[in-house]
Symmetry: C2
Subunit: 158 residues, 2 copies
Amino acid sequence: MRPRLPEELVASTTFLLKRLGFSAKEQAMKAYEQTGLHPYHHAILIVLAEGSRETQGAIADALGYDRGQLVGLLDELEERDLVERRRDPSDRRRHLVRLTPDGEKMLRRLRTLSAEIEDGFLSPLSDKERATLHGLLFRLAEEHDPRCGPIGAPGLTV
Amino acid sequence: MRPRLPEELVASTTFLLKRLGFSAKEQAMKAYEQTGLHPYHHAILIVLAEGSRETQGAIADALGYDRGQLVGLLDELEERDLVERRRDPSDRRRHLVRLTPDGEKMLRRLRTLSAEIEDGFLSPLSDKERATLHGLLFRLAEEHDPRCGPIGAPGLTV
DNA sequence: CAAAATCGTTGACGAGATCAACTATACAGC
DNA sequence: GCTGTATAGTTGATCTCGTCAACGATTTTG
C-alpha cells in the first residue's frame, strides 16, 4: 500500500506544476538515453536549425545556459559530427557553430522522439483539452517571462 | 534586447510545464527565505498537521524524501522548536514527531505565504481559468501517479 | 536464543549548476 | 600606433543536492 499525498498539496496548482514539470523532465531524460544525447543537446540543435544564432554566446543566451556549460555540450555534439565549429573570420574570438548533415538528420529523429514523449505525457487529455492546457500555460509563461527571454533556469530543456 | 525563445520550444506543452514548474519552484524558494525555512520544511509541517503520519519513515515516504535527508530537515525544525521528536515507547527504534504550538503557528503563516505565492503566480488567469487549469493538471498528475503515491522526485515541495 | 529485518543516523559519493580566472582577440581614446 | 578596456571561448574550482551504503540500536521471526 502506498502512502497518500496530502490533499493540501494536491489542491495547489503550483504544486502540481512543479510535480508535473519534474515528472516530464524525468520521462524525457529517460527516453533520450537511447539517443546518447541529453535534452540539452536537442535544444541546442533546435536553436542552430533556426538560423540566426550561430555564435556560442548567442546560443547560450537563447537557452539560458552557462557559457562554460555550453562548451562541453558542443564538444560532445562535435565529437559525434552533429555540429561544426569554425572561427568567425570577421571576429576571430568567435566560433560560428553550424549543423552538419548528420546533425540535421539527428534533429529530425529527436523531433519525432520528443513528439512521442509529449503525446504520451498528455494521453489522458483530449485534443481540445490539450489545446486549452497549452493556451493557459502559454499565458502564464508570457507573464513570467514577458520578454520571451532565455530559458533562464537550469534543467529546462526540450 | 532579449534573445527570443525558439518557437519550437514554446509550442511544446511539456516544455512549458518544465519551464513553469521550475519557475514556480524558484519563486517559492525566494519567498520562503524570509521565513528562514525551505518549502521542504513546509511540506513536512503539512504532513504532521494531517495527523496519522508520525514516524520519520512515514513522513519520508509520504513526501518522497530520502530518509537521510529528512533527518537534517527535522533537526532544523526541532532547533527552532517547531516540532518535537520523542521515542515511540511501543517501538523504541522509532521516533514520533509532533508539531509544537510554535509549529502550528508557523504552519498558519506558511499557508498564508504559499497562498499569496500561488495567487501571484496565477494572476494572469481568471478564477474560472484557474479552476480549469487545476483540473487538467490534476488529471495528468493522476495518470502519472495513479496511486496518488509519494512525491517521488527531488525538489518537489510546497 | 539466533538470525534477519527495521528505524534513525551518519558520511561518502556523484551529478550538475555557478563562478572566477585565463588566453586570445577586438575596439576605443589619446 | 599604443594602451587600456571589453568580449569570446575555455578551463577549473567550488557548492549544492540527491543518492547510496554502512552502522548501532531495536524488534521480529524461526
